[in-house]
């Protein structure tokens, strides 16, 4: 039961935040590549900063375990990003 409830609740918050930020709309995604609307950047950077402070504070105070950090393999990350950007700007996802 717990196996299902936790990811669904986390996903619920995730989807709620994305919808309220407007990231589910084509225009908001594509306009960041046209530099006419930086919603995506503002949203993502705020999330990064909030999560960064919270995670490391909990780690320092409560000894919360840190998860596996995404691996860095420069060529793969860059080429993957290049491919990803084509789809993101083209489809607006």
């Amino acid at each position: 039961m717990e196996l299902f409830v936790i990811p669904i609740l986390i996903g619920f918050g995730f989807g709620f935040a994305l919808q309220k930020a407007g990231l589910t709309y084509y225009r908001n995604i594509v306009n960041v590549f046209r530099f006419t609307d930086l919603t995506v950047i503002k949203f993502m950077m705020t999330a990064i900063v909030v999560a960064m402070v919270g995670v490391f504070a909990l780690n320092a105070i409560g000894g919360m375990a840190l998860p596996v950090v995404p691996a860095t393999y420069i060529i793969g990350n860059l080429v993957g990003g290049l491919i990803f950007g084509v789809g993101m700007a083209g489809a607006g996802f």
Binding site: A17, A21, T39, T46, V55, L78, G87
Partner: protein, 174 residues
């Protein structure tokens, strides 16, 4: 509070705080960074098992992204529910064949155009996420909060290709 929930769109900073809290809870409670693209790879692996078993047995599906109803897949059900509730609360939920007004203005109301772009774009996005090791959620935000170089290399790549693609698609309207 209720009027806030009914707003069509929040300030990106407010929504960003909510997303940041979701990441904290996920890492705290589940010990994992929430990611969106993984779910489609796990489900894709399940499909591959049925239609092309040899393909499902390759290194990627065996060691990197095992097929199955994983944590990410279950989370994706929550994502759909969460965005649906958010849209219904603000009255912005609507079934549309051409999903966005801006798309309609620029590329016309032809359904096939939007659906083709969505379909091809979806394939390209998933493939790119597979190569990069994550997407905007699992890699860019999830790695970014640990200042993982991967996250920033990925975002650089994303803009290096996204900007010219938008320029080509919008031409003089860019």
């Amino acid at each position: 509070m209720l009027s806030l929930l009914r707003q069509k769109q929040w300030s990106p900073y407010l929504a960003g705080v909510l997303l940041g809290l979701v990441y904290i809870v996920s890492i705290w409670v589940a010990g994992t960074i929430p990611g969106a693209s993984g779910a489609f790879e796990n489900l894709g692996g399940l499909v591959a098992k049925v239609v092309a078993p040899a393909l499902a047995n390759n290194t990627y599906f065996r060691f990197v992204m095992p097929p199955g109803i994983t944590w990410e897949v279950i989370m994706m059900a929550g994502v759909i529910a969460g965005s649906f509730v958010a849209a219904v609360l603000s009255g912005s939920f609507k079934l549309r064949l051409v999903s966005d007004a801006q798309w309609g203005r620029v590329f016309g109301q032809a359904i096939w155009k939007r659906w083709l772009a969505a379909f091809l774009g979806g394939i390209i996005i998933e493939f790119g996420a597979g190569v990069a090791g994550g997407c905007t959620s699992g890699l860019a935000v999830g790695g970014g909060l640990f200042l993982a170089p991967a996250a920033f290399i990925f975002m650089i790549g994303m803009f290096m290709s996204g900007i010219p693609v938008a320029m080509i698609m919008y031409r003089r309207r860019y």
